[in-house]
């Protein structure tokens, strides 16, 4: 029996599911919204009182930070390293310049402010940090926004906590962490949403222990000076990525790797993105292009229901 808990957090729809023969273990699901609330209170850039906001407004000072903050920061360092700088939390200024200043729910969809690419570029190598005691020190001019990394990290954490009670799946706004097959040994059926046809599916994935994530420019987009912008910033240009990929869905050993790879493939575009996926044997991806075509990496088909 699959028990589900659905709620909204981090500006996204969340779902936690647990396969259990009895209800008692599934009661753990009721704790999941509180976990996400605690993490959001630390990691949100839209909450002035959050740990991240306090860190961002006080650069060049070494801040003692929570284990949560340090863990997410380390995940971001890993993502930046794996993507060779394409996926980084250091592009907040570019994101704000492009118009993504407030939470997406309250973001004006039409704006009239110039986006600029003349912004200082940073990498996480410029952040001083220690593990014992946990501390972070940002250079002047850098603000962090963990974005999808925070969602993937939260999905992974929640899944690991639930996995003690049975096969678990946590979906944090499209970033999905799966602990392993269902109790009967079958894989979890997971749909890929079709952004062109809401309510329809691009395919059904049958997944065991893994992570899957989709990065897209189809939903979080807005108009600035009569031009459409989206929230995927290409750190090379400091502007929303110009790409022929509408959305990229990637299956990886963990949801954090899947999130990083999906964003990387989207920024690189269909040709370079597929090459990037093929060069990594642990990844499988599917790209939806602007012209409506679907392209797959060679390992993706084995996960599709047929």
């Amino acid at each position: 029996m699959i028990y589900k808990q659905e709620f909204r957090a981090m500006g996204c729809h969340m779902l936690a599911a647990l396969d259990s023969a009895s209800f008692e273990p599934a009661q753990e699901l009721e704790k999941v919204p509180d976990w996400f609330e605690q993490w959001e209170a630390v990691l949100s850039r839209f909450r002035p009182e959050s740990e991240l906001s306090r860190l961002n407004i006080s650069p060049e000072i070494s801040h003692p930070v929570s284990e949560t903050m340090l863990s997410v920061f380390q995940a971001a360092v890993q993502a930046e390293r794996e993507s060779r700088g394409l996926v980084t939390p250091t592009v907040l200024e570019a994101l704000v310049s492009a118009g993504y200043e407030t939470s997406f729910d309250s973001l004006p969809r039409a704006q009239y402010a110039p986006a600029t690419s003349d912004l200082p570029r940073f990498t996480l190598a410029e952040v001083a940090w220690t593990v014992t005691p946990p501390s972070l020190r940002l250079p002047a001019g850098l603000r962090l926004d963990f974005g999808g990394i925070a969602k993937g990290w939260a999905a992974q954490q929640a899944m690991q906590r639930l996995a003690a009670f049975g096969p678990a799946l946590v979906n944090a706004g499209g970033d999905i962490a799966i602990s392993g097959p269902l109790l009967d040994g079958e894989p979890w059926p997971v749909d890929i949403r079709d952004p062109f046809h809401p309510g329809e599916s691009l395919g059904l994935l049958m997944l065991g222990r893994c992570g899957v994530a989709t990065s897209g420019q189809d939903y979080r987009r807005w108009q600035q000076n009569d031009a459409w912008h989206h929230h995927i910033i290409d750190p090379r240009s400091g502007l929303p990525a110009e790409t022929d990929v509408i959305s990229a869905s990637v299956i990886a050993p963990t949801v954090l790797k899947a999130e990083t790879a999906a964003k990387c493939a989207l920024i690189l575009g269909s040709s370079a993105g597929l090459d990037w996926l093929e060069a990594r044997p642990s990844l499988a991806g599917m790209l939806l292009l602007k012209d409506g075509r679907l392209v797959y990496s060679s390992r993706f088909m084995q996960y599709l229901w047929s």
């Binding site: 029996m1 699959i2 028990y3 589900k4 808990q5 659905e6 709620f7 500006g11 996204c12 779902l15 599911a17 396969d19 209800f23 008692e24 599934a26 009661q27 699901l29 009721e30 969602k151 799946l169 979906n171 706004g173 499209g174 970033d175 999905i176 269902l182 009967d184 079958e186 979890w188 059926p189 997971v190 749909d191 890929i192 949403r193 079709d194 952004p195 062109f196 046809h197 329809e200 599916s201 691009l202 395919g203 059904l204 994935l205 049958m206 899957v212 994530a213 989709t214 990065s215 897209g216 420019q217 939903y219 979080r220 959305s247 939806l288 409506g292 075509r293 679907l294 229901w305 047929s306």
Partner: protein
């Protein structure tokens, strides 16, 4: 003088009869009480024996069977329905457990039964550009992935 002796003898005889009567009454009442208490003891032991047989579901001993046969039935001492319920149930049957109220599904937690894959023999062609490819034997998705919403 001679007239007084028979009357005296008569009076003594009467006293002896009274004593004899009292003796007989004492003996008979003693025997009666003994018989009565003896019956109550048997009743008590019968009830105890019946209860223990019912509760343990073990066959009564031969002596107990004889005792049961000798005594009249006691219809009101053992509830018939309860006794039947207990004795008719197999010893290995699990006791029904009522769920406490606190364990009822909480609001917000949705229960669903997964639909297992049908075996993978059915094929379908994939059309570029998407569209709904659901089939009748396709398992229902637990969730979906897409751009953050």
């Amino acid at each position: 003088m001679q007239n007084n002796q028979p009357s005296k003898r008569k009076s003594l005889f009467d006293m002896r009869d009274v004593k004899r009567l009292i003796f007989v009454l004492a003996i008979s009442s003693t025997l009666g009480f003994w018989a009565l208490f003896s019956s109550k003891l048997n009743l008590s032991s019968f009830v105890a024996a019946s209860n223990s047989v019912t509760a343990s579901s073990t066959p009564p001993s031969q002596a107990q069977e004889l005792l049961v046969l000798d005594l009249p039935p006691l219809p009101t001492l053992i509830p018939t329905a309860a006794a039947l319920t207990m004795t008719d149930k197999p010893a290995s049957a699990p006791a029904p457990v009522q769920k406490p109220i606190g364990s009822l599904p909480a609001q917000g937690v949705v229960v669903s039964a997964p639909q297992a894959p049908a075996g993978g023999n059915t094929r379908f062609s994939r059309s570029s550009g998407g569209g709904n490819q659901s089939r009748s034997n396709q398992p229902a998705a637990v969730t979906s992935t897409g751009s953050s919403q």
